[in-house]
Amino acid sequence: MDRKRLAILGFLFVFLVVLVFIFFKTGVREKIKPSPLVPTPESMELPAKPGAKIEVVLFFLSEKDTYLHSEKREIDAGVSVVRQAKQAVEELLKGSQLGYISPFPPETKLRELHVTRGGVAYVDFSKDIVEEHLSGSSAEISTIYSVVNSLAYNFDSIKRVFILIEGREKETLGGHISLSKPFLPLYDLIAK
């Protein structure tokens, strides 16, 4: 008796769930799913042998001049450009293995990274990147272009980079350079 009731209740829930799905997933007009909108790069098939590696070039500061210096790093070939780009930024945040200087506050974490069809990478950092930032012009320029150049240089499907903090737009990192539009790479900043 009790079990029967439970069964009925169970079916009722299933029915409800289906109903909810119908509510949310139908629509004939142009529709946006709540999931990240990354149609091209995410679904881009990459030759992913298990354990395969690719080489990326990351840009760090050096003590000897004002330029960004390149450092090669191996990352997993992964299954998509987005995964690769995420790894690249995570490696960048880990810092240099060749003694270069990391232009990020040490606590900074990568929260999310999406790439749109239009080739804009949305890179979402934890609030540490602002709260712990040195805030001088040189520091701000090197933080921004370490990320922007590293992504644009390695991934053809990334043309511009939009920096978000805690998932939202932020005015600036330290009061100098607006984050309100995506950045093109600035390769003049790289050491020759």
């Binding site: 829930f13 040189s138 600036t172 330290g174 100098h176």
Partner: protein, 387 residues
């Protein structure tokens, strides 16, 4: 038979349980505090609508000639919060609730727009960008190759206007301290001290009007600093800062002028503007410093990059003499405060607060006077070359 029935029942209970869990996890949260936060921001070349929700939602978007509609199918009732906005594209916002949906309507100005949208996850946001498609701009920009090449002397190089007004911009201020030295010196205090000294030395020695974007410890937005310069018909704009770097040994002065993102389109505009220098005809009317006006001035600095680089060079030479440092030199970066300024404009980083030795010097009043004098000397040598 009986056994089978039992296991089926078990299964259904299990599924029911999972469904209940899903229902709870999905819908208990919204009941407490469901909101939609609507904001609109104008950026150069586009207007952006941001709809932030307290939990992920499915949207449908309809773009019509006079509005953009967002349809949200939901039974949940939302608190709809609208941040006040002024936009050159979006005239007004309204919303309506039906039995199982919300319609958000953004009325837009007439004209053709390209629109793009994307979503972000955490917090959930729907972002719609509207960019006016202007055919006018294309007419304004003939292929650079059509312009007959002018000889060096014939070239209408500098907008050779009489230099009357200098705007000095002490970086940061108020809630925005800028960089901080190891012993706690704040950039905003140093920039103000040096700027006031620079203003005084110019006023003592030159027949120029001097305007400061701030003369006390207050917030001024980057856009408004540029607007103050344009409103006052500035002929020279000097933004004063103190630097910091992740390099331990960074030291010495740097002078910046604006870098341009070298897209093909902008390179074309630049080539065009260099051959057709424009001057601010009227300034911005009546001290109006709002952002909408500023957008019209977005490309203002591109016409003055040559003068700005000359001004940067003159100032950097003098600062190098003062600080006797190896030349960190003249650099370019996309400083927001410079982008909207319609005259020769530079950003001076006097020295590094992140370097303890330079922090001490920056705090020293004699050094502040010397720095102001060096920038003044740089300005004078620029004026001599351009008169």
């Amino acid at each position: 038979m009986n056994k089978e029935l039992l296991s089926q029942k078990k299964k259904s209970v299990l599924i029911g349980g999972i469904a209940l869990f899903l229902l709870l996890s999905n819908f208990s949260l919204p009941q407490s505090q469901s909101f939609l936060n609507i904001s609109v921001k104008d950026h150069p070349k586009l207007s952006r609508i941001i709809v932030e929700s307290s939990f992920p939602l499915s949207f449908e978007i309809e773009k019509r000639p006079s509005d953009v509609r967002i349809i949200i199918r939901t039974d949940t009732s939302f608190l709809i919060q609208k941040e006040p906005f002024e936009s050159s594209v979006i005239r007004s916002f309204g919303w309506r609730r039906g039995r199982d949906y919300y319609i958000l309507t953004f009325n837009i100005i007439p004209g053709r727009f390209s629109y793009d949208y994307f979503t972000l996850d955490n917090p959930p946001q729907l972002i719609i960008d509207l960019s006016p498609l202007s055919e006018k701009k294309e007419e304004l920009l003939p292929e650079p190759t059509i312009v007959p090449p002018l000889s060096r002397t014939e070239r209408p190089s500098a907008p050779s206007r009489e230099i009357k007004t200098v705007v000095i911009d002490p970086g940061h201020g108020g809630l925005w301290p800028g960089a901080m030295g190891k012993s706690g010196t704040l950039e905003k205090d140093i920039t103000l001290a040096i700027s006031l000294k620079l203003a005084a030395v110019i006023q003592r020695n030159l027949a120029l009007r001097v305007v400061l974007t701030r003369d006390k410890d207050v917030d001024v937005s980057l856009e408004n600093r540029a607007a103050i310069a344009n409103n006052n018909k500035a002929d020279i704009f000097i933004s004063i800062h103190a630097n910091s770097s992740y390099q331990k040994d960074a030291r010495g002065p740097e002078t910046y002028f604006l870098s341009l993102e070298a897209t093909d389109e902008e390179a074309r505009k630049l080539a065009y503007l260099e051959n057709n220098p424009t001057q601010p005809e009227e300034g911005i009317a009546g001290g109006n410093q709002d952002e909408i006006q500023m957008i019209l001035w977005d490309m203002a600095q591109t016409a003055y990059l040559k003068q700005s680089s000359e001004l940067a060079e003159s100032i950097q030479n003098e600062l190098n003499l003062l600080l006797r440092t190896r030349n960190r030199g003249i650099r370019q970066a996309p400083f927001t405060v410079l982008a909207g300024v319609a005259c020769a404009a530079v950003l001076v980083e006097v020295a590094f607060l992140s370097n303890p030795r330079e922090e001490r010097r920056l705090l020293n009043e004699d050094f502040q006077n010397d720095a102001a004098k060096a920038i003044y000397d740089g300005l004078v040598s620029y004026l001599e070359r351009n008169s």
